[in-house]
Amino acid sequence: MSDHSDVLHQVAAWSRTGVGVALATVVSTWGSAPRPAGSLLAVNERGEFVGSVSGGCIEGAVVAEAVAAIADGKHRLLEYGVTNDRAWEVGLACGGTIQVYVEKIG
């Protein structure tokens, strides 16, 4: 089974049980980003997640934003990279930059 199908099925499974879910999607990358545009990460309100938007370096930050999106219902466009002023916190070790769109399902 393919990556994206696993992630979408998990989103549907969480939604069916009434758990809040958000979906994060890599929408663009510059430089040596580890995962291409279109990569998916699904997060539930408890902070559990499937899929990936990076090699693991920014998953923590994206999961936190996704949990916030589930709470306030607002979609977000996030950017991470070495030029980001939060780079010391969640920068990409590979030196790339990625933009991630996060939205609540429902």
Binding site: S2, A12, G38, G106
Partner: protein, 234 residues
Amino acid sequence: MKPELLSQLLADVEQKRSVVLCTDLASGAARLVHPYAPEAGVDPALVAACREAADADRSQKWDGPGGTVFLRVFHPPVRLVVVGAVHIAQSLGRMAQLAGYDVLVVDPRRAFATEQRFLGIPLSTEWPDEALKRIGVDRRTAVVTMTHDPKIDDPALVAALRSDAFYVGALGSKKTQEARRERLRRQGFPEAELARICGPVGLPIGAVSPGEMAISILSQLVEKLRKPAGSKPA
């Protein structure tokens, strides 16, 4: 994303239809576009952009009249048809499944095509040309022949060459390949068409064991899929 849209998207994924999820990054508004069977009333420029993204299998942003839209391409898995339920096919089938591909092993010789030898891999004992006709070979299908028997391999190669298959491979030595090319030439295939056949099959990495042969073939298949001639490197 609305739950109804997610359900529609999942239905397309499960029924193996290519679909593009188009999301306006400013407003969050989203819709599905079927790039190869576009619904009526969709902006033709958006359909064209979806088609381009789908052809390249590359999800990307599109600057539309109303703002930036992210086009997320969902394709059914790449299909690999292995003709010949031989030893190498056992490794190739399992490895291709790990890579996320839909595998079908075809061999009309029932002694070879047994479930015991191909646990968890879909098998068919049809003649390969019949099997290829039934499944409908498209531009996301690869065909590799492995029997060394012209009665089985040749009809498969003829069907593959007449299709849009992105990868056509034929196991066999240089001598075998030349004899095969000569037979296909006599069937009317021009040199440009015969050049589509990768044979000897696989990248030249010095593979010896069946597992190594499978790696060499899969590597060449990925290269044809992701770096087709004339394309920019991914």
